[in-house]
Amino acid sequence: MYYNWLKLIKEGFNNNSAWEKTWRNPELKKKYDVIIIGGGGHGLATAFYLAKEFNIKNIAVLEKKWIGGGNVGRNTTIIRSNYLLNQNEAFYEFSLKLWENLEKEINYNAMVSQRGVLNVFHSDAQRDSFIRRGNGMILNGADAELFDINKIKSIYPFLDFQNARFPIKGGLFQKRGGTVRHDAVAWGYAHAADRLGVDIIQNCEVTDFKFKSGRCIGLQTNQGYIEANKVGCAVAGSSSLLMSKANMTLPIESHVLQAFVSESLKPVIPGVITYGAGHFYISQSDKGGLVFGGDIDGYNSYAQRGGMATIEDVCEGGMALMPMIGKSRLLRMWGGIMDMSMDGSPIIDKTHINGLYLNAGWCYGGFKATPASGWCFAHLLAKGYSHKLSSNFRLDRFKNGYLIDEKGQGAQPNLH
């Protein structure tokens, strides 16, 4: 099915009764050229770019639950490319460029909204480090602007400029950053991949890998055995569990990150704001809810829900930045399981087993990376070697010392 104006008008007169399914519900075949484990944003994007850019035809995406039920539907929907290190910034800038053209590419309204991301700073030292990061962004082809306090006051007059402990001194602004409707990203990539013939199989959990002379040749699933030439794993917080079936131990801990939505309010926050003295980021959805989040809970978890201590901490951050938020009420909150890597940066690499590839370690920055992650992982799966932009995201960098530690925290995953 292809969405267009004509169809929209026709269905308008038709009481919306004849829309086809966004994607098929195909039967599982016996054999595929490439199988992607994990039907989240990254897995679906990988399948889409494999079919579209790398001309591979016989692809399946296996999802253990349902499309859009994992982290792709559990984040705070922010897109940006404001990293310091070259290894990261070039990659995320590529991702932002793909976001800018995404809706045409996948024929789906993902509500990509480049409303601007502002990082507020509170001290001279923090200003200097933000300027340095902004220069790093510009050197990699991204956009960055330094805002003084008057400029911020003109856009966000409600911030707490009188705060004695953490006065707002200015901000680093990326105009091209913004938000995207997250579940539409999953549905859109599923829709686009499906149109190119990718089989999306839901409720299909991989129970084991099948190996033959050092090569991964197939998968045992709850829907039977499937042969595969190549297998790509993109299962985020479940990476350690899945790869342990291949006797691999990963440089990853799984942690829970919570996200929050308030009741619907009239439009009040035009862009994305992040707090510099604590960990708090906020935007307003088109439905009016304030969407915000903060730190991970900080202990290993697979529970997809977090604790009150972190909720309190996040709300304190919100109150310190914009006291008016105290008048709104929390409507709902949820948790997602993050694959926190040991240096805070992702892994897109082959494994020591032929035909088995890994895409993991996104920490809590995976959503904005979705298009570039899919593209680079597809490149690796199709060509057998890394895309230039993901060539630093190696699995063996922890052994060799080529870490990409954006925050300089060391091997302490709950601090990244």
Binding site: S240, L241, S244, T249, L250, P251, I252, E253, S254, G298, Y299, N300, S301, Y302, A303, G307, A309, M342, F398, K399, A411, Q412, P413, N414
Partner: protein, 93 residues
């Protein structure tokens, strides 16, 4: 979450700092032949189980003792809490 401290009784996790997998207590020997590989595994690789996980918590806002907490990562239920000093004695380090 409430951690049942062996000496102080039930304490809120606000008072603690989470450090990570209790395997961090088993520091490899620096002079062994495979020290390089062993330290790589010690430093960077984690079993990361879904289920009972033995982990280190530091009572920073309390008596500054180190605890080994056995906790279910699927439910957050804490099943056992020990003082690191006792565990280390048992490990015979």
């Amino acid at each position: 979450m409430i951690i049942e401290h062996p000496l102080l009784g039930p304490r809120d996790i606000h008072e603690f700092v989470y450090v990570g997998d209790a395997s961090l207590l088993n520091r490899p020997k620096w002079d062994s032949k495979d020290a390089e590989q062993k330290f790589y595994e010690y430093m960077y690789l984690r079993k990361n189980p879904a289920g009972i996980h033995q982990e280190l918590w530091f009572h920073q806002q309390g008596d500054r003792s180190w605890l080994v907490v056995s906790r279910n990562t699927l439910t957050h239920e804490i099943v056992k809490v020990d003082l690191v000093s006792n565990i280390v004695k048992e490990m015979n380090l």
